[in-house]
Symmetry: none
Subunit: 216 residues, 4 copies
DNA sequence: TATGAATGAGACTTCATTCAT
DNA sequence: GATGAATGAAGTCTCATTCAT
């Protein structure tokens, strides 16, 4: 399927940082990313300086710039990491067992998986937000991949629709539901729980309108 | 209702810029806002300098700082303008005529109203995005107002639910559906149209799950 | 004569620095230029840093950048100053008295004037050299002006030649003879004196070949 | 003649790069020089980085530094190559046949030889200019050699003058006439041709003033 | 009240050169 | 000898904001 390959390469074509192979360098790059993540979250992207990141990571500034051509590339690397992780999570739904679940359970599982992902990576919100403003093309490419994957999953459940339908459904689900998940992170626990239920409800009824046969 | 007043004042308490009364000053402030809007959209918030905004608006930089305490206040003023406009649009749905429409039509009308609003104010996406990152508390306050208004509207259609239900529904609708609207702006016309249909579908089935009595 | 006007404006169009009107600012700009001149001569253009120039001139770096958009603009301002001075010197030859001198004396006077100019502004060599490498278009425009002026002077002595002849002669004189003058600056005094005589000889015989009537 | 030997060794004493003997290394050094030449001309000396030169020449940066102790040494090697070539051209004039030509033809031949040399090595202007600023001692040594050679040639035509006269004449000729040749390169073809005639005229009348016996 | 010149900390980034492998 | 990752001082320039006039 050329499309999928295309999407993938489009995302990879955007990559602007070098992942080193030697152990020592890899550790350094990881240290830079860890420090940058913390700083971006705590003080915001523009308040975090490359100098401070390098200092905190105990890496000479020149070394930082050997792996990342500019500050934005650090943000990008961070975003890519997360997107890859989320993408991997979605891929785990590609099993017969899950595909055969009743729609209601299916939706619940997906929503809870995403929720857990966000819960495990707090502060990612800040990073995604910043990426949206600073590197919209990176977000675009990553979302496109996620949308493709979800479209594929839905088709596996029920392939009675047109290709474009799957894409539209997946687009709406990834974008709107994703947005709600992010937002839920900033809410007080009780409302956050309620929001989770709403997300499930929203998604379930939306899916059900397309796949009426599968009862909840 | 103390709550409403509180919300309102919370938003007003955040206002950090002065709306002048003299005609000349008012014209200057408007010129600043117009120029700033264009620049924020075209070059991004941080690339637009206060000096450049003042110069283009043909206003001395010192004067700019007499109305806006800092750069963020300009962004804030812009965001408030838009939120007030959107809020006013929502208020127009507070008529018996509209409240009595079948749910399907009701949803269609709301969605189309919002769509038209975004279509008429392109580039606002960039501003809302930036506000979310730079002035989250402003966005929070403004959204809270919008959510209150929508919750009120829904209660007028059917007041069988709990107060907290209305709030949750309105929250989800404003946030997720708002997000989809923004995103639709950047899409090619055909997909944009399809997206509009999806928004209607998503919203309708979500509302219907709460208000089953009202048939489409 | 449109050409002259064109040349002039072409040079002015290149000006990239602001000459302030207030006394205090003017003094600051002059201090910057003085310091920069010394540093460019003593350590070379690229070794002289804007930070050091500002510090030595006791001016905040930001102030320096308010008058000069970048480092090259300082070099340019310095070069323009010198070119204007040299140009003014040439203009002093535009008198009946001088025009009527025998060719030999005429050449002597011009060569000595230029020599004196260079002697009074040592270190300018370094600046002209650097301009030639860094801002060739500035040197071009300035030389063009000088060439025009000299062509005019020669025509006043004897207008029997074609316009293009005057231009060619003036070009050769300004460029080659100018070059020799610069070079003479770096020579030991005795050889420098000899060189001066050679410049006169070279120029005289060259001019004489075009204006044979005027005896030496 | 000890003087000549001294000059020669002074130039060689300045040489700071190693010409390898092995074929592979020689090829690499040549590739470095070719690439550096192009880059120096196209982007200027300081904009061309050693890393970029090495990369383009497909030579590891460490290897580059094995042949050239620093960046300036590459510029120097390039300049030396050219100077050697030009020097060799001058040496071809050391034949009885040429020495016996009438002065006018003699000058014409020299000027045309130099012109051809510059025409065949465009972009050398940029390199000579840069050498003058960055490595004045190298230029000095090379020019001294050229001047010696020309002085020698002139003495062979007519040895009635003092040693110091030959030196002065050769100095003027090499420097001023050389400068005009460089400048002619950047001119439009027609004016360039005219300039060539002017160079001949300038040189011829200058020489003639010293050697009146030899008729044109 | 209106102005805009002045400020200066600090941002990002570069690059010649070294030296451990 | 060959390699190229690592270094870090130092460079140029920006810009929100102030405050004397």
């Amino acid at each position: 399927m050329p499309k999928k390959i295309l999407e993938k390469s489009s995302k990879e074509a955007l990559r602007r940082w070098r992942k080193p192979k030697q152990a020592r360098s890899l550790a350094r790059v990881n240290r830079i990313l860890d420090v940058a993540e913390t700083m971006f979250i705590e003080q915001g992207y523009s308040a975090a300086t490359t100098k401070a990141i390098a200092a905190q990571a105990e890496v000479p500034i020149g070394t930082l710039y050997q792996f990342f051509p500019d500050k934005a590339a650090i943000l990008q690397a961070l975003a890519e990491q997360y997107y890859d992780l989320l993408q991997a999570q979605f891929k785990t739904f590609d099993s017969d067992e899950i595909v055969q679940l009743p729609l209601k359970n299916y939706v619940e599982q997906i929503v809870e998986m995403v929720d857990q992902f966000f819960a495990e990576h707090p502060g990612q919100y800040a990073i995604f937000m910043e990426v949206q403003v600073t590197l919209p093309e990176v977000e675009e490419a990553a979302d496109a991949e996620l949308i493709q994957t979800l479209a594929e999953l839905l088709r596996r459940r029920d392939d009675s629709l047109q290709a474009e339908d799957y894409e539209a459904i997946a687009f709406v689900t990834v974008k709107a539901i994703g947005n709600l998940h992010w937002l839920s992170l900033g809410q007080p626990p009780q409302f956050r729980q309620r929001l989770l239920e709403e997300i499930k409800r929203l998604t379930f009824h939306y899916f059900q309108s397309y796949f009426p046969g599968k009862l909840s």
